[in-house]
Every structure is written in C-alpha cells, then in structure tokens.
Symmetry: C2
Subunit: 237 residues, 2 copies
C-alpha cells in the first residue's frame, strides 16, 4: 500500500506538513493554505492528493493512532510474554509518552484535534481507538490477574485516568523540561507505588522498599528542577 515510488512521497510530505501544523495549532487554527505552504506547494495542489480537508485530517489521526499503537505494543512485546506485568505496564507508559511528546507529530496531532473534529470523523476514529483501549485494559487485567494490583478499584476508571495523565501532557510538555522518559517514570511511580511515603513515622529508609521499581530504565529525579523548566503552561483548571 505504501509505494516508495515516485512522488507519492509528495503525499507523504503533505501528511507530514499537516500533522505538524495540527499538532502545533490545533484544528481550528490551521487552513489548507498553511499546510500547503509547509509542504512547499499551493493550496489548490493538495486536491490532487486528497479529495477534501476532512480526508487529509482523518489520515493524519489514523496514522497518529497507529503510530502510538505500534510503539506501545512493540515496547511490551520486546519484554517477552513472561515478563512481569507491572514491568510491561511501565514500558507501555514510557512508549506512549515518548511517542506523543517526542516522536510523532501524527500522534500528538491526534490528541490535540480529535475533540474538534466533525462528528462522523470522530465517530469512526473512536471505533479504531477501542482496540487501543482494549490493549491497555488487557495490560491492567493481566497485572490484576497476577495478584500484583489492589482489588478495590475499577480498572476501566483507572485506565481512563492513567491515559488522561499521559495524553494531557501534550498540552504542557516542553522540550526544555524533563524528558518524556523522566515524566513516564514519575507517572509510573505515582500510580504504582503512590505518592505517600511508605513508612510515615519511621526513620529514613531505602528508596525502593515496595515492589516493581527497580526495573525502570531511570529513576525519577528532582534534578533539572531548578533550571529552565519554569515554562509554558502550568495547566490549571
């Protein structure tokens, strides 16, 4: 389906330009002239490759979702089928975050514009996303089945909140601050071990008493806190 041939790479160039534009400016802020300019063309020429703006937009978010799916699935698969389900979860979190923050304009565009899209497009896209949601559900359910998770929480709600923390990061992330990997470590630490100190009254204790924290590629640190990270959006309300 993907010819390397000729100038159907032009089509790719247009898609790249569109993904970048949408990722930066949202949906309402981008018109076809801007996309065309970024792709080094004139607006009218786009119609040689796409029948409508909607078709172009839908392709962008379709690729964006697929990119996130691939990256996340792969990050879990390389761990092997018998890996600790908690480790798998941490890997998925890191992969998802790295993809949407640093690797794919398509994936970040998907998140930033989906809510603004015409209803038919959104409906179709949400259908596609169910598979991805199911993938996360399965990760959580396996962790639960292994007995590693507490049993008093609704995993669907957990999944929504977890993905929310991940996805909202496209609204505040800045390359000047923590890396996506560091942010992922923070989130994993937060939701797996919790923010509360483990021995509230005890003396100083070793850093990783509880479980499942040694596996991460790096530990969350307060490092970098003091430098150029007073940034952009401290997203509030």
């Amino acid at each position: 389906m993907n010819d390397e041939s000729k100038s159907s790479r032009t089509r790719q160039r247009i898609l790249d330009a569109a993904a970048a534009c949408f990722s930066e400016l949202g949906y309402a802020g981008v018109n076809l002239r801007r996309i065309a300019t970024r792709a080094k063309m004139k607006a009218g020429s786009l119609y040689y490759y796409f029948d409508s703006k909607d078709e172009l937009v839908e392709e962008v978010i379709r690729v964006g979702l697929e990119t996130a799916v691939r990256a996340t699935r792969r990050a879990v698969q390389v761990l092997g089928p018998d890996a600790d389900p908690i480790v798998k979860l941490r890997a998925a979190i890191a992969a998802h975050l790295t993809t949407i923050l640093a690797e794919s304009d398509y994936a970040s565009a998907d998140l930033r514009i989906l809510a603004q899209l015409p209803e038919p497009i959104r409906k179709r896209h949400m259908e596609r996303q169910r598979q991805y949601g199911a993938f996360w559900s399965s990760l959580l359910q396996r962790a639960a089945a292994s007995g590693r998770l507490r049993r008093d929480l609704n995993l669907s709600v957990v999944r929504m909140l977890l993905l929310g923390a991940l996805n909202w990061s496209v609204e505040w992330y800045s390359p000047d601050g923590e890396t996506p990997g560091e942010i992922a470590e923070h989130l994993s630490a937060m939701i797996l071990d919790g923010l509360l100190a483990k021995f509230t009254l005890g003396a100083r204790h070793a850093d990783d008493t509880s479980s499942g924290r040694r596996e991460g590629k790096g530990k969350p640190r307060s490092a970098r806190s003091a430098r150029g990270r007073r940034t952009w959006r401290d997203r509030g309300s």
Copy 2:
C-alpha cells in the same frame, strides 16, 4: 460588578448559553447563531452585550477558571487550616472534578476549548491560571513538608500529571457511569497509595492498611462496573 438589576441578566443568559455550547461542541463547532438561539435571541443582538466573539469566549473561560478556583479553594478551606494535608489534597481533587464534570459548563468549556483559542486570548488566560497552578503546588508542598510524601519526585511534574488525569476526564466522562466523586476517589487512591497491592505475597489483608484513606467520603468500588458504563469514549492514543 455584578448587578442583579434589570436585564444585565440577559448578559448572564448569553454567557450561560455560550458556556454550554462550547462545553458540548468545542470551539470550532460553535457559531454565534447557535449561541444566540440557545439564549433565545438572534445573532446580531449579541453585539449589544459583547463587542466580539473573542470577548464572549474569553469571558466564558475566565469565569470557568474562577469557578474551579473558588470551588477547590473552598473545599480545602472548610477543612480548617490544621487539617491533614493529604486530606486537603483529596478534597481538592474531588472538588475540581465535581466542578468540571457536573457543576459548571464554564469550567468544562475552559478545558475543552483553551487549546483552540487565538494566541492572545490563550496567553492571557494562561497567566491567570498560574495562580491556580500555584495553589496546587502549595497543596503538594505542604503535604511534602509534613513528611507524608516520598521525596524522590519532582512535585511540578506530579502536579501536571495529576491535573492531566483530572482535566482529561471531560473527554470521556459520561453521567451514566461512575459519579465524579467515585472517579475522584479512584484517582486519589491511585496516586496516593498506588495501584500495587500492599502485601504482594501475603494473605488477604484489611483494606486500608497504609494511610490517609479513611477520610474520603466514599470508597472506590467496582460497583456499577457491570451496568450502563460501557460508554462513549475509551479514549486511547
């Protein structure tokens, strides 16, 4: 500043209509005709109260932010200055979530449209949001100062991720599923105590061994899981 007098309540009616429209349809999906119709007027009449669409929009998100700020601050204040900082945090989470999901079209509109707004408006609004961000920072810092929180995490990142989980809920929440209060309890449980079972190898244990979980108004339950909550958006990528 707020005259109860005469038909400057018309102005209020317009703002209410606008907030509801923006909350439901995003920014791009709403035109002045729709807002006017909902306010039982014609589009041209809006200009008697607002000089431009931008002015109307900015007022909506300004009120939305203020509403969230007030509700959250109040929820913390009623606990008294000497309350457990963890309890304060839980109260703020519940108040923020209830406000954006159930109580204020303004607050949810703020979250849903901010990313789509013209740059000058967004810039001004982000300035206002810093105060709210500082409020959450202070909540977290007090909890940390009390020694209740682990010390290896950057609280700024924690705050962003926490607010992200909260704010993204406007994209998937449905009144048919868990209540805002139940979702808040889930999030508090997740980020404070963590998802991991406390005694990974032990026998069944009492539900609240660790700390700070008794205070919540209700416990998260898996209840309701089986019924009408297969809903809308399982927001993925």
